[in-house]
Symmetry: C2
Subunit: 553 residues, 2 copies
Amino acid sequence: MKSDVEISQEAKMAPITTVTNQLGIDPDDLEQYGKFKTKVNFDPTASHQDGKLILVTSINPTAAGEGKTTVTIGLGDAFKELHKNVVLALREPSLGPVMGMKGGATGGGYAQVVPMEDINLHFTGDFDALTEAHNTLAALIDNHIQHGNQLNIDPRQIVWKRVLDVNDRELRQVVIGLGGRTSGVPRQDGFDITVASELMAILCLATSLQDLKKRISKILIGYTYDRQPVYVSDLHVEGALTLLLKDAVKPNLVQTLEQTPAFIHGGPFANIAHGCNSILATKAALAYGDYAITEAGFGSDLGAEKFMDIVTPRLNKTPDCVVVVATVRALKLNGGADKKELNVENLAALKKGVVNLKRHVEGMQQYGKPVIVAINKFATDSDDELSYLSNYVKNTLKVTGEIINSWAQGGQGGLDLAKKVIAACDTPADFHRLYDENAGVLEKMQAIVTRIYGGANVELSRKAKNQLKRIEKMGYDHLPVCMAKTQYSFTDNAKQLGAPENFTIHVSDLQLKLGAGFIVALTGKILTMPGLPSHPAALDMDIDENGRITGLF
Amino acid sequence: MKSDVEISQEAKMAPITTVTNQLGIDPDDLEQYGKFKTKVNFDPTASHQDGKLILVTSINPTAAGEGKTTVTIGLGDAFKELHKNVVLALREPSLGPVMGMKGGATGGGYAQVVPMEDINLHFTGDFDALTEAHNTLAALIDNHIQHGNQLNIDPRQIVWKRVLDVNDRELRQVVIGLGGRTSGVPRQDGFDITVASELMAILCLATSLQDLKKRISKILIGYTYDRQPVYVSDLHVEGALTLLLKDAVKPNLVQTLEQTPAFIHGGPFANIAHGCNSILATKAALAYGDYAITEAGFGSDLGAEKFMDIVTPRLNKTPDCVVVVATVRALKLNGGADKKELNVENLAALKKGVVNLKRHVEGMQQYGKPVIVAINKFATDSDDELSYLSNYVKNTLKVTGEIINSWAQGGQGGLDLAKKVIAACDTPADFHRLYDENAGVLEKMQAIVTRIYGGANVELSRKAKNQLKRIEKMGYDHLPVCMAKTQYSFTDNAKQLGAPENFTIHVSDLQLKLGAGFIVALTGKILTMPGLPSHPAALDMDIDENGRITGLF
């Protein structure tokens, strides 16, 4: 069997200009990175007719993921085979996990975006630019303190940490500024992974270069000794930081193995951030395609909820259809199967685990738009398992469901699903918001926990309560909430699989992200800097003298 | 008067393919980054005739620099105006100092490489890739310790620090791995600026992708508890690290304002590293040009000495002519003038300061090739100052000297100098090595200090002495030495200007860089992570809604 990188390297790619010509993009609006990648100078204010929007989400995943990106790409290729003008909008992979255990994040098998080896590594440098801009701001804050601290910033109350796009647990908690008078002020600090940077969220929510700068200027960086907020605008560095992101803010366009156009831009994780590609990329996909297919990270409790509640008001567009990806493997895991035994038929576990799918489907149905289940076929699924699951979707959940086999068959493997999605997009339906935008922080969290997670309560730690008071006093309590929660469970405990009932979500801290325009609620033991496993993927990667790459999945 | 970025943005650039076509580069060997930047898949083993090589260096600079890059570019443009087939090979700017006080590093006025705003910011992502690869290795080392430490690495003896391309004094000395059992092993660490990374030196000394991987595998990362060396090859991650640098290792090609081709690739600082652009870029310039002009960082005591003694044996080519850039301003500073008064005529200080130029010229003359002085004219230089200096060069130093005014006049301002350099390149001369490659570490340092710096002695700290013993025991004492020293003085004290006599160089530490293949000797109080000034350049940078940039000099 061929590896993903082998399939990618054997692919016959069209020059990216062939793809952009088909979309009618002016060659003057391109900034190519080699022959197969390009940035697009997309003007969202230019008049255009929006296409239909399809959101792909999933159940709670296994550690290996459920192939949501593979399904999204395969679905796009199927649309193309049905002669539909379709454009994908996806997230960029984060290098940290690529070197860790996840491998690439560019689909798999015969449903990939290419060139996968470039997209999975530095791509067009967007994440590197974000890392650089983030750490430049951190250095400017400490430098301000070092040179007299005119703003009276309290080094104990700086909320702007540093970032790297590396899985490096060693940097989670550090002490910096050691070495005496000329080497800064000693203080506690920490590094997050770049995808958790507020700048990543800002890049993904910005609607123009000017909006980007405006949002950057609003970032809360810390507090003064007398507890007054300090913003980037107080340091006067929003211009320099925007300058560092002038290219990163432009959406990237590549193609799938079947030459379907795919914007890939921005990539906050959905467990520690809002989990969706950039608004500019989705707008571009809607402008150039009759159909735009986008995905939101992890399960529907995370990425999709945030897409619905945080992204759509800023996108000015809601999905016409929601696709929930399920796999036999993950449902068996949710039903209690051992994670090492997921390749073995286990109908009992599957029957127990389907409640997880049920809750995801019902959660998404609350938004009012058609919900379809995509069963992503793995070679190890038995016929009995697949048929049980198909029947469950049809007879118990009473929603449309189709098996998709794009990993093995590309677009051809997704034709049935694509036809159902196209039909659903033509079904008139009203979008219902989950909560009133003007509701308070607690009320919003309560709506998410009870109506999406299926839980009972939200409990705030003492620290979170104090933070909430501060937020209310500052007048920011009407911002949307971005839940930071484990992707493995509806609860804040990664071990509680299936569809737990009557649980409480524990909020340990609330963080004001004023540039992004939301409040992050940290729940359970969520980490904003992952670690590497005992055998990192990096150990198996290689490149030979002819540039042939191995070990990049 | 127009700013550098204004001149750059008004420039009429040729598509980079026009430049590559003139050089006869196969379009299939290009990987374009937009319309005006490209990476070149250059094969150094393909047969070609090497052009003549010109090395540009300088006297000890002021904090603002002596316009060495401006002279190099202006000289190249003058060659072009004289209908010579010339190609430049320059270093990439480091973002940290761009945000600090230095502004851009792409020439100035009418002698610039363009687009300067891209080259000064992320360019083609080479430095970002180096940062990512460096920190990935750091994370893999700590991760190995976290997961059982099979190699028995002593966390107190890890010599591989972390890096960022940010001037951030706050990170010079840090404690990492705090937070308990799941967040790593607490230990002391520090961050260097990316240009000080051994990977930067390796990238600049590698002659192919395979040589890059071989060098990476040799990197010394630390020692075991029983004091045995641990290399990257012991961790088996040279493949992954090479993969992360697969594009960074390819030289970048841009053009000057006058459309002279310029390779810009790699950029170690000359005070803390070896200070020269990549060997692959210089080889490419030699292959495509009848004349290749390259520059080495800071004064001839730093970059040029390292070019001669470290680079040329690996380049298999020595310079046909050496150009020493001098300015009236820097010589006045070297003669005792106040650094705030350099715009004021001061013949007395100039007459005292010319000894600095004398020592640089005599140092370079020891290598046997013709040495020419380029007097880089500033608008504030008086006629009397310029004429005194010209006469001093001609009558006292008895070498060829010419005034160059490319900042104001581009290539036209460098015609006289260019003619002299062309003539010098045709003068037969033998290259003399400064030291025997097989000499010991102390002997090599002694040769550099006495014959290039004009000092008397080298003194090793206790730590450096112990390190030397360890190096000798390991059998690496025949490697070349890369001196890390202040750029402002021949001595290791930045305040000792002019041409001090009878001084001692104090070596505080010796660092084995086995991937780069040299030993770094740290002298005086050299810092490998700069800080930002009280008013960083970042505060004055901006970009408006039309992408117009200000404040980037």
